[in-house]
Amino acid sequence: MDLTRRETLGACGAAALLAMLPAPALARTTDDWIAEFTGGADMAEGGLDLTAPEIAENGNTVPIEVGAPGASEILVLATGNPTPGVVKFTFGPLAGSQRASTRIRLAGTQDVIAIAKLADGSFARASTTVKVTIGGCGG
């Protein structure tokens, strides 16, 4: 099979494009997560509680609690982790309150962000800094 110069260049270009495509999907930044969740809408401060320790000795298990009265969804992000996504709570009709707690991993000292989608469709945001003594990503 004889490849012309044009065909060769075309094939290389297609291969390069294919190689580039998965990269952005893998490395979603904090801003990507926020944009995907809010659709670019503005976020107000207040109306959302984010409880996390000021200092966490072990980044492998950091207890956090989020709560926002009337929220339908709450997203939690860790800005300094290799992948910023942490957890998303979706509250159903039988949720006793829009509040939940869990334990998360933090790679190091960083900001933890919570964003809630409130009943009226607006978004609220809260963030707090957690100091981590031992990182939680097995580095």
Binding site: G85, G96, R103
Partner: protein, 109 residues
């Protein structure tokens, strides 16, 4: 399927109609994040529970999407409103397709 996966749920056995009860769940699971490397430097593939749901008599209480940043042995604490006697159903979905289930009956006192 990851080894030794065991769900544990703490919920009251009885409640008054319309009461809001606190539920605590924990499932033993390594939650391998995909970021760690083994002794010879090869990355260990990701293997986590990616979704957890709790429903009461088929009605949703909470639906949680988990990312690798959730700690080993994922723990959740939340509240549910109990309008009538029935069963709380808990379901965990593993990356490898396994589904782990538990349920707790609640009576009205």
């Amino acid at each position: 399927m990851a080894d030794g996966v065991k769900p544990r749920v703490k919920a009251p056995r009885t409640a008054s109609a319309g009461e809001v009860v606190t539920i605590k769940t924990l499932i033993s699971h390594p939650m391998e994040s995909g970021q760690r490397k083994d002794g010879s430097g090869n990355p260990i593939p990701r293997s986590i529970i990616n979704r957890f749901t709790c429903a009461f008599n088929g009605q949703m209480v909470v639906d949680v999407t988990l990312e690798p940043a959730i700690s080993t042995n994922p723990y959740f604490e939340f509240e549910a409103k109990i309008p009538e006697a029935g069963t709380l159903q808990f379901t965990w979905y593993d990356d490898d397709g396994s589904v782990y289930e538990d349920s707790k009956p609640i009576e009205i006192s």
